[in-house]
Symmetry: C2
Subunit: 459 residues, 2 copies
Amino acid sequence: MSEPENLDTTTNSTTNTVEPLIHDLNAEPETAIAPTEDNLVGNLLVGQSGGPTAVINASVAGVIQEAGIHPEQIEEIYGGLNGIYGILHENLIDLNEEKARAIEELKHTPAAALGTCRYKIQFKKNPEQAARDMDRLFDIFKAHNIRYFFYAGGNDSQDTNNKIHHEAIKRGFPMRCIGVPKTIDNDLPHTDHTPGYGSAAKYNATTVMEVAQDVASMATDDGSCCIIEVMGRAAGWLAAATVLAKRKPTDGPHIILMPEIQVDEESFLAKIKEIVDQLGYCIVVVGEGVKDKAGNEFGADKTRLDSFGHPVLSGAAEALGEIVHGKLDIKTRTVKLGYAQRAAAHFASQQDVDEAVACGRAAVRAAVEGKSGFMVTIERHADDPYQYSTGLHPLGDIALVERTVPRDWINEDGWLPNEQFIRYASPLVRGRLDLPTKGGLPKFAELSRVPVEKVLNPL
Amino acid sequence: MSEPENLDTTTNSTTNTVEPLIHDLNAEPETAIAPTEDNLVGNLLVGQSGGPTAVINASVAGVIQEAGIHPEQIEEIYGGLNGIYGILHENLIDLNEEKARAIEELKHTPAAALGTCRYKIQFKKNPEQAARDMDRLFDIFKAHNIRYFFYAGGNDSQDTNNKIHHEAIKRGFPMRCIGVPKTIDNDLPHTDHTPGYGSAAKYNATTVMEVAQDVASMATDDGSCCIIEVMGRAAGWLAAATVLAKRKPTDGPHIILMPEIQVDEESFLAKIKEIVDQLGYCIVVVGEGVKDKAGNEFGADKTRLDSFGHPVLSGAAEALGEIVHGKLDIKTRTVKLGYAQRAAAHFASQQDVDEAVACGRAAVRAAVEGKSGFMVTIERHADDPYQYSTGLHPLGDIALVERTVPRDWINEDGWLPNEQFIRYASPLVRGRLDLPTKGGLPKFAELSRVPVEKVLNPL
């Protein structure tokens, strides 16, 4: 993903120069878009799915604001509460009832303002239930004249969206489905990166920088090791981004364990010892999905699965901390940022917020122009000064595919990402969100959530 | 501690109105200070000790800047690296060699810029070593003509400072020792609160607010519980402060476990169940030092002691999470902020920074005026608009005493702090530090650390 993707005839690309952090949404498209023949008129439904990010609400704000300027095609603007799960229950709200101010405030509000879910339509595991779910969904779409459907989420959610898109075609129900990318994990393919990643990366790198200063300042002769666990599942993008905290070679983090490289315990301990001998302390960042030489995750509880069937990853830092303390007998402390890293609007990247809004707007533009079955992508045109545009890529290529950090973006010895990665990640953490506060603490959007009247029988 | 302390003749008090967040350092003292007879002239030594905070460097900046305006008494301004530990090794740096800009930048730089330590002079456990340490310290003080000694730290560090103060008197070595309060734990007696607390409270409350939004937005029918562990040792001040995240009764945190109240497991589980039944999720904050009914800390590893002999507390959230998941069978996640909460300069409280600077300056003023053996205190005169002044209190009363949250500042049922606590904590998190950044990440002070030439034999 180091090269900008080629623009082909299926992509809708708008080039924007984002120096200094201004995304020009009114720029002329680079390639002409063939106008669609049918001028589909109806209502819009937007939902959020999977783990929230600091900027998934910014994408919803982008969808709503762009939809508002296409009244000739988009009549009502509805939100589905808790994604597919709530839509199945006909829990829709009328977003046109929200104050314009509240919509604007979504751009600095973390979590999923519409609610989210991990509900999955189980086509393989439970085809009967899946068929019933699809019938119900299309009953809802028909009942509320939904002709524009937008789903913001990661791999699993794009898969759900893709299935709805194909089902609409199969049923001859004119509806345009566009996916809005979202995940702090940054593991979606065919996009340079995903909204949510830059903010989590900025917060994590800042936290690692601060913790590293703290630990360094306490280092006397005894030696110490601090292990900071970050999210990212099987991808090391979030772990790798903490390298941005390193301004001098001796700065932490000194070791970044990315799931892309299995950890040899002996070499890991030897590396820590080498660093502690040199500096008196060592800062280790570990991605939650890191595996040992035998391919087992550190601290994974395989008896606990989330509703997508993924094992609950938790405790890599604790597990490694026990190994380090036990084998090297040095003071060991752990930090586990958990949900804090994906919700940290208080130090979000303005670049990320702008791109999240742009992705929401691009999704609506694509649908209005007649596209369906695509996810919006971010295409990079230059690193410095950073330039990007939004594009489109077929949902079928994105669903359920996990993109990991390329091996040649990691140092040969495997302990840290290299310059290529730093060039990639640096622009994504720039700019600081201007967060409104009340009494010193953040002031987030509060939606009034006016329900759309239910017309179907309850589920 | 709800009432401002009475000013007696031993206190040096300067009243300041801090609305809007301006601490007037040039205000006239309320009570006259008797000028001391001896005009002690010599060098200043400042050290930092114990766990750092986001603002302990701001206190050092205050010491340096105030010292600079008393050239008639203070000649050289030295910093001791790694507190007493480094001072024993004659590791001093010349702070007059630092750029004025770097000193100013200390006001937004976390961790201990001079380095810190947990080294303790062991008067009881090892009196011979303690006697050797004291001899060595006074050799250093004499060799470098140290006449003003400032030590920024918590209970243990104030104890060390007190011992040095008494030793100076015993030895007839004219030197003035003043303690500068510091601890995120806020557990020092005889001061309304401690510098460092407000910033950690602000960051923790913000994090809890963000995580609560995240968890709430994912709540569907299954129920979930997120347990966030914060520091504070045996005191619940930090845990309690996360109540500021709660703007509506249904907002998280729903349960705050403070070490002041032992946890009855059955009631705790019943309370979680009640909240999950009502809201679909529950946010629990736990102070690391929380104990069960039998008086045992959850997740404490009693086999691991720090160098002050305190057990290493770690894992309360994990331990409670296992209980909740095991007994209630709901999805449970944990966050352990660890060092991140005491180093989070990126969201520090400007009020806290201002007070930390004021404490450093007050320490120097007190010493220049002839005092020794005191710690600077913060005295509150009004909650809203908040007003405070700095005062002084004898070190002997502060050393090794832990102040906890008063029982009548906690709701009768014990699950949350009450309005009295909220009135106390609210002013301390106000104002946002204007943090300079570079490439989107914080830009912290870098001291040049020019060593003072050693004149003694190595230790």
